[in-house]
Symmetry: C2
Subunit: 177 residues, 2 copies
């Protein structure tokens, strides 16, 4: 059986990871791939239910998601992940332990993300009602070696998806919409 | 896509769940099914790494495995589970939340399991070096409505597998070895 691929989208809260992940998921499905989308918020209601936002918990979180990616990939299922993945050590482990791994950085400036604040996380971080907000009170290491950088503040979604799929399919692909 | 099935083998420690699960897994693979085997011990090194053996932890353990079964089943992958699953409430939830669920009770008398004690668990339970040993210091509710009961102290493995597959395939199957 052909193994599946993992496309891992990381970035600050409100950087557009979920939007990008959903679009990618839908495109891959249309092409007939068997694909799963893991989104940070969903994961926290399923296999990561008991985990919080400390460094240790975030690392355990990513470890579990990595396990799931490997499991699904081994059965030929593709996985798109939308997950903050704030520390470089997590990404290094992803690259080491996931066989077919493409890393995407949804890169929007912090100010833009704070302005969007889709889920009100930054606001809650500022007024202290939640601890450990990535970008405010918890680290986000700038990725060292992402395979694709999507500038989600100034690229259209189609442009970002196009960039990602070019890399995933090693340039033997052209989006036509 | 045809959904996968979950075959969930439960029973006391050393009741033969793992042996039965492996055999079933191999048989299903030979027939061309895409199948995964989740064994209690393996799970405790992967998605259930941080969980212990308290009632609460055991319930969370099973909840996660159930999630994994549903996920894989939804992609057409069969899952064989070998897991103590000591409380009836866990099994009731399995039946409620897993679409195609067949429950197998690996049923050997406690004395036989204690004598086998494949992993030395009962001994450790007796001398107090581990707490919460199912059958000794923690409950094992006798299953109320398992679909198949395998008497692993007096049935051969082929006989047990045959019984299971007959039920799973609704009698439209005959093992020929």
């Amino acid at each position: 059986m052909t193994k599946g691929k993992t496309i891992w989208i990381l970035g600050l809260p409100s950087s557009g990871k979920t939007t990008l992940g959903r679009e990618l998921f839908e495109d891959l499905k249309i092409w007939g791939w068997d694909v799963e989308h893991f989104d940070g918020d969903d994961l926290r209601t399923t296999i990561c239910k008991n985990l919080g936002f400390t460094r240790k918990d975030r690392i355990e979180n990513v470890r579990r998601v990595r396990y799931m990616c490997n499991l699904l990939n081994s059965h030929g299922i593709w996985v798109v992940v939308s997950f903050i993945t704030p520390y470089q050590e997590m990404r290094d482990k992803n690259r080491k332990f996931i066989e077919d791994y493409t890393e995407i950085w949804a890169n929007a400036p912090l100010e833009v993300c704070i302005k969007r604040d889709t889920k009100g996380i930054y606001n809650k971080g500022k007024d202290g009602s939640i601890e450990f907000v990535t970008g405010i009170s918890d680290d986000f290491d700038n990725p060292k070696n992402s395979d694709v950088i999507c500038y989600t503040d100034r690229e259209g979604i189609d442009e970002s998806v196009e960039k990602i799929l070019r890399v995933v399919f090693k340039n033997r692909y052209k989006l036509s919409k």
